[in-house]
């Protein structure tokens, strides 16, 4: 536990605010987390992509397991904005020293945005695959497809089973 003495004032304020929130807002925080899970929780495919949906817009990326097995990514070829994709169809590729790996779209939809930072700096996928290393955003045309994808815990079990590399 770091001592608060000697820290910059704003850092001290932040830490103390954090404590207060945790102490008083425990119950409220718990509920807000649950709501987030319902709207923005991640779902996974057996091809190691994840999708997180908010108001029918899904953000797609690859899982930690995938980025680790690919190695350092040197090039990301992402789908063009406006492309209409079907579920499980190839929509791009990630190139590392080891190989060019295909990206498959987890759901059907239209691409509305792609991550230009990742195109510029593909290593973002390795360092932050769930956050800054997102790949593209898609407007879902068949939201029911989400139900057939794995939840986070199902995906963890899937990886541990070692059936698929």
């Amino acid at each position: 536990m770091r001592s608060l003495r000697g820290l910059h004032y704003s850092s001290v304020a932040r830490i103390s605010r954090c404590f207060v929130a945790r102490w008083q807002g425990n119950v409220i925080r718990y509920i807000s987390i649950s709501i987030n899970c319902l709207s923005g929780s991640r779902r996974f495919t057996d091809k190691h992509e994840w999708i997180s949906v908010n108001e029918n817009i899904g953000t797609v990326g690859i899982s930690h397991h995938a980025q680790k097995s690919l190695g350092e990514i040197d090039f990301a070829q992402l789908p063009d904005v406006g492309a209409v994709l079907e579920k499980e169809v190839t929509c791009g590729a990630l190139e590392s020293v080891k190989a060019a790996s295909e990206i498959f779209c987890p759901v059907s939809g239209k691409v509305i945005d792609k991550n230009a930072s990742v195109e510029q700096t593909p290593r973002l996928i390795n360092s932050s695959c769930y956050d800054k290393g997102w790949l593209f955003k898609v407007e879902l045309t068949k939201p029911d497809e989400l139900n057939r994808l794995m939840t986070e815990s199902e995906y963890e079990t899937f990886i541990k089973s070692g059936v698929y590399k």
Partner: protein
């Protein structure tokens, strides 16, 4: 040469006749029935233990790079590799092959390569640029995605070299094959991973024309700024330089047999016993009859859009020193004309000319700038150079001799376009 190759093929077929016949029965059934068998169902553990993995060696009879790349792609997309691994061996007439995310204008001089009658092809796998000719043997190892193992494949090649000719080789951490004690590469490798299939392919430099190789892969500084994957140049050598008896025809057999006798999971040498359980060698004639849809793949792979249009966005920046006689009175020092082209999907998106103050004059540059900006929307190719030249020619016929300054600017533009 062709006769010797045909005889060698016959020798392979004779020796593994039973295997080839067995192979014909179901691996080369008419493709329509095969298409039905191509499910993407995963192999369960039960299936795996019941049916051990069997191996086939396919040898393509085509030497056209686009046909062979199409065949490789066809197999990756359509073939069922459940309990069946395939090694495809192929050779090409002289050509240059760039990696999927590379820039052909960076990696090679496209005009020179075209003048030598060679094609530039873009493959589907990653990696760098290579030169192919008939002294180079290409090996593609096909498996299901979860059985992909690059190092094992290279180990098989390494063993074949030793068994046949006593050549000792090492697999580097970058997973290239290098001759022991020389650090010279005799093989380059690349791979493509998808679901359910994956492949790893590598080249083997048996007896390649090194002069042609060096000329076609020669890179000048063309002022191109890009985030496309760059090739890593490595010193290379031909296997025939180590042992004069190494020939491509014999290499086909050496690697093929080693592949068949090696156990896929454990890399154990199973000898003749294991070979007898495999599906053996098969000569492949890559036509649309045997592989429906092959012609369409070949068309896509040979299209300008795939080979050049797939290039990631890039910028060409060049500076030219302005001769003193064009600078205004009183202008001192070195002044430069800067030309910048933005190319996206192989099309010139934007042209920027930065004119130094000395070049700006009362007559202005309007006409000339129009000519330059007419490059916008043109494919970044010889066609654009030709249209620029035509436009210049039209201008000089209309207005008499172009002013010296304008001529200079136009020459600079021409140099930028021709240098790549």
């Amino acid at each position: 040469m062709a006769q010797a190759m045909a005889q060698n093929m016959f020798r392979i077929s004779q020796v593994s006749l039973n295997n080839v016949v067995r192979c014909n029965a179901y691996a080369f059934a008419p493709a329509t029935s095969q298409a039905k068998a191509y499910s993407s169902a995963s192999t369960t553990d039960k299936e795996k233990s019941k049916n051990p993995i069997q191996k086939s060696v396919f040898i393509s009879q085509s030497t056209d790079i686009f046909t062979n790349l199409a065949l490789e792609d066809w197999m990756y997309r359509n073939f069922n590799f459940n309990n069946h691994h395939v090694l495809l061996m192929w050779r090409n007439s002289p050509c240059v092959v760039i990696g999927r995310h590379q820039n052909p204008w960076v990696e090679t001089n496209t005009t020179n390569v075209a003048h030598q009658g060679m094609e530039i092809a873009r493959r589907n796998s990653g990696g760098g640029t290579v030169y192919h000719d008939r002294g180079n043997l290409n090996l593609t190892f096909f498996t299901k995605r979860e059985e992909y193992n690059r190092r094992n494949n290279l180990e098989i090649v390494s063993r074949a070299l030793f068994r046949e000719w006593g050549i000792e080789s090492v697999i580097t951490p970058r997973e290239d094959i290098v001759v022991k004690n020389t650090y010279k590469q005799i093989s380059g490798t690349a791979a493509k991973l998808g679901r359910p299939n994956a492949y790893h392919h590598c080249t083997l430099l048996v007896d390649v024309n090194k002069v042609a190789l060096r000329q076609s892969l020669h890179k000048d500084d063309k002022g191109i700024v890009t985030n496309a994957t760059q090739s890593v140049a490595s010193p290379i050598m031909n296997l025939c330089e180590i042992n004069q008896h190494v020939k491509v025809e014999r290499m086909l057999g050496a690697v093929g047999w080693e592949y068949l006798r090696t156990c896929p999971e454990t890399l154990e040498d199973g000898g003749q016993d294991l070979i007898n359980k495999q599906r053996g060698f098969q000569l492949i004639n890559p036509t649309d009859n045997w592989f429906p849809g092959l012609n369409k793949l070949k068309e896509e792979l040979s299209s300008w859009d795939w080979r050049f249009g797939k290039t990631p966005k890039f910028q060409v920046n060049k500076s030219f020193r302005v001769p003193k006689e064009f600078l205004g009175e009183g202008e001192m020092g070195v002044q430069e004309l800067k030309v910048s082209l933005e190319v996206n999907k192989g099309i010139i998106d934007d042209v920027t000319l930065k004119l130094p103050p000395g070049l700006l004059s009362t007559n202005g540059f309007h006409g000339e700038v129009d000519v330059v900006t007419s490059l916008r929307g043109q494919p970044f190719s010889e066609r654009a150079v030709v249209s620029l030249e035509n436009a210049l020619h039209d201008m000089s016929t209309k207005e008499g001799n172009l002013q010296g300054k304008s001529q200079f600017v136009m020459n600079c533009m021409r140099q930028v376009m021709q240098s790549v």
